[in-house]
């Protein structure tokens, strides 16, 4: 039977196999993606990222159970763990924390190794999310280790991005460093039963206040002073990331977190940000594909021998890389 039709009919084996083909960027995978594309655009994509050991997998486990039991949604999970930069192998252990979800046909968990390919991870994840979307999953949760640019790229895929922190991982200087916290739509302090939760929350709060100044009250020479942001700068459509406390091993704070996610979806729809994010995401995907295709076309048009000759001249410092590009591209155009 046709793969795409099998996916639309809910065939789980066909789904699992297509995910492999899409992950490997095979021609069959791409062909199915083309056929399935009209059926995508329905699911809510939730990105979950944060430092190792903050309890992301347990949190995803709880969140997925919530969506199954309370909202009766079908949930797909893509759990990304790092590949070894030396051997290319990986141990993917996120399922260990998600055993509560096994035996439920409304849940599909797929582990994925990062494979360390340039920008390829975000592309593969996006494509896998599209397959789940077409297969009729209402919620797609993408879990990544928050350690770099690829996580930021993956966060761009998501409608809602959760950044998970835990007490005791860093001080307020960590919180004002650029990067992972900036991409958060919702900040989660997991393991909130541990000591240090107050200072972790305070650090995140002050970070948010720097990023989104509204009104601040502070003590100045013993007197309390209030400073408001001028009205013309206050944006009623601005989403200020809420800070949610959870203890995912006990299921605490999950209902409240799901509530915050629901409010974020409502905000995205009302403010028009949902459409804007879809646009950004699809545009980024299109650009990446164009880049790949141009590169492939270049490789087809320019003989490997010529390429290596020019490269050799660059290595010997006879031609600069900029001039080399001109020579190679103009050679192609002739």
């Amino acid at each position: 039977m046709n793969t795409s039709q099998a996916i639309l009919d809910g065939d789980r084996l066909a789904l699992a196999r297509l995910l492999t083909q899409v992950e490997n960027n095979s021609p069959a995978g791409r062909a199915a993606l083309i056929e399935l594309f009209p059926y995508t655009g329905q699911a809510h994509l939730i990105g979950v990222t944060g430092a190792p050991g903050t309890g992301k997998s347990s949190l995803v486990n709880q969140l997925a159970q919530h969506y199954r039991k309370v909202d009766d949604k079908r949930v797909a999970i893509v759990a990304v763990d790092p590949s070894s930069p030396f051997t290319g192998g990986a141990v993917l252990g996120d399922r260990v924390r998600m055993r509560d979800l096994s035996g439920d046909s409304g849940v599909f968990i797929r582990s994925m190794a990062s494979r360390g390919s340039l920008g390829g991870l975000a592309q593969a994840t996006a494509n896998m999310a599209q397959v789940f979307d077409a297969a009729g999953f209402d919620i797609i949760i993408v879990e990544t280790v928050g350690a770099g640019q690829s996580e930021v790229d993956i966060a761009r895929l998501a409608h809602t991005t959760l950044v998970v922190e835990a007490p005791g991982l860093g001080d307020d200087i960590q919180a004002i460093k650029a990067g992972i916290l900036e991409i958060a739509d919702i900040l989660v302090i997991n393991k909130a039963d541990r000591p240090g939760v107050e200072s972790a929350e305070k650090a995140l709060k002050s970070m948010l206040e720097l990023a989104h100044p509204t009104e601040r009250v502070f003590k100045h020479h013993g007197a309390y002073m209030s400073v408001s942001v001028p009205k013309e700068h206050a944006n009623p459509n601005l989403w200020i990331p809420p800070i949610q406390r959870t203890v995912s091993t006990e299921g605490k704070g999950i209902v409240e977190l799901a509530g915050a996610i629901a409010r974020h979806v409502e905000h995205l729809r009302q403010s028009g940000d949902w459409a804007a994010r879809e646009r950004t995401r699809l545009e980024a995907e299109l650009e990446a594909l164009i880049r790949d295709s141009l590169m492939n076309r270049f490789r087809e048009d320019v003989p490997q021998k010529q390429y290596e000759e020019v490269l050799e001249q660059v290595i010997q410092r006879r031609v600069s890389p900029w001039e080399a590009v001109k020579v190679l591209l103009n050679g192609r155009l002739k």
């Binding site: 789980r12 084996l13 699992a16 196999r17 995910l19 492999t20 490997n24 960027n25 095979s26 590949s83 070894s84 051997t87 290319g88 192998g89 990986a90 141990v91 993917l92 252990g93 399922r95 260990v96 055993r99 096994s102 035996g103 599909f108 968990i109 797929r110 582990s111 190794a113 494979r115 390919s117 390829g120 593969a124």
Partner: protein, 132 residues
């Protein structure tokens, strides 16, 4: 990105709680460049078959130290087949008596490893099974 990686599910069915061996094997297969999905302790045959399906693995490695291998292994193979995963190779490690080893191989188990088996042997047998 185009190279097909060998995907392996390492699982511990049944009730014994000793997962040291399973973890050593998982690590060794990782170092041989495979992608290893580790599921943790006390998995039912149904959980293992479901995980093997969702992860579209090529190989399932079972670690059983409880003596229940003659009950658990055939059940897992039956479920894999019922799910349409006829191509999946099943390997078994643990405390397995010699006469059971023969019977398990007759059932279609691709390889059985007892105490003292080297990780090199396990890696080689998995790679051979995938190539053949």
């Amino acid at each position: 990105m185009t190279e097909k990686k060998i995907r392996v599910l390492v699982a511990k069915p049944g009730l014994d709680g000793h997962d040291r061996g399973a973890k050593v094997v998982a690590r060794a297969l990782r170092d041989a460049g495979m992608e290893v999905i580790y599921t943790g302790l006390r998995q039912t045959p149904e959980m293992i078959a479901e995980a093997a399906l969702q992860e579209d693995v090529d190989v399932v490695g079972l670690s059983i130290l409880s003596g229940a291998h003659m009950a658990l292994t055939p059940r897992i193979m039956e479920l894999l087949r019922a799910n349409g995963q006829t191509h999946v190779k099943v390997f078994l490690g643990g405390i397995i008596p010699d006469e059971d080893m023969l019977r398990l191989k007759e059932m279609g188990v691709a390889g059985v490893f007892g105490p003292g088996a080297s990780t090199e042997d396990i890696i080689r047998d998995v790679q051979t099974a995938m190539a053949g």
